[in-house]
């Protein structure tokens, strides 16, 4: 899959969601970076993408990184993959948050491909007028990415074993 950090502007309506026109225009304006790709993620770039709004007084940024252990087992590396529809679902998560919080600018990007320990897998950045709503919106977006966006994690252990995280319960 190639990198496609979609600019918020110029995107068609996402499948399965019908937002009123006003909400649609607002979401086009506030979504800055959205997508999945194989290129390493930059906290500085994602932060900068939401940092130009004079009405924002708080920016919450979350980054998820590859950890060296899971349930006490040593992890060597991870492989992330995604369904071709991934951006549609990622956009739905972000648009839901835009409808609920006074988001002035937002970015949500996820890496796919093979990642080593310490590499960034996902970054969510939200700019709001105040910190509380920025934290809450950022938390909601990352939680819903984990629950509802079709991304899969293949975890490889130091002992040579491997597993698809969460697939078998």
């Amino acid at each position: 899959m190639t990198l496609a950090w979609a600019d918020g502007a110029g995107q068609g309506p996402s499948r399965g969601t019908v937002l009123p026109l006003v909400a649609r225009l607002r979401s086009m304006e506030v979504i800055r970076m959205l997508g999945v790709g194989e290129t390493p993620l930059s906290v500085a770039d994602v932060y900068a993408s939401v940092a130009d709004v004079p009405t924002a007084g708080g920016i919450a940024l979350f980054s998820g990184v590859v950890r060296n252990e899971d349930d006490g087992r040593a992890v060597t590396d991870l492989g992330y993959s995604a369904h071709p529809s991934v951006e549609t679902y990622l956009r739905e998560v972000v648009e839901k948050a835009i409808a609920q919080y006074p988001i002035q600018a937002v970015s949500a990007v996820h890496r796919i491909g093979d990642l080593k320990i310490g590499e960034i897998a996902v970054i969510v950045a939200v700019a709001c007028p105040k910190r509380g709503e920025a934290f809450d919106a950022c938390r909601q977006i990352i939680d819903q990415i984990k629950d509802t966006v079709p991304i899969w994690k293949h975890q490889r252990f130091a002992d040579g074993d491997a597993e698809w995280v969460g697939a078998e319960g």
Binding site: G64, H83, K146, I151, W152, E168
Partner: protein
């Protein structure tokens, strides 16, 4: 019965031991019975399938009971195992 294609993603592809197969079924529930029946006794496939969600011709089937999801001829079912982003 409709001739349908089942495509498996990620953990489901590994558990099914194939990326895709063609079966005959009338409903999504039938289709899941058929693919499970082909792997009777395979607890890993059963576990992955139990936690999967399904797309039928690109649309989420999860909001409907699988026995009510009718499959048109040449329907395309996608098996999406549990998500693990982040």
């Amino acid at each position: 019965m409709a001739r349908v294609t089942v495509r498996y993603w990620a953990a489901a592809k590994e558990a099914a031991n194939t990326a895709e197969e063609i079966i005959s079924a009338d409903t999504l529930a039938d289709a899941l019975d058929v693919v499970s029946g082909k792997r009777a006794g395979d607890s890993r496939f059963a576990a992955v399938l139990a936690r999967s969600s399904f797309l039928v011709n690109g649309t989420q089937a999860g909001r409907h009971a699988p026995e009510t999801v009718m499959l048109p001829e040449n329907a395309f079912i996608e098996v999406l195992p549990a998500f693990a982003g982040g």
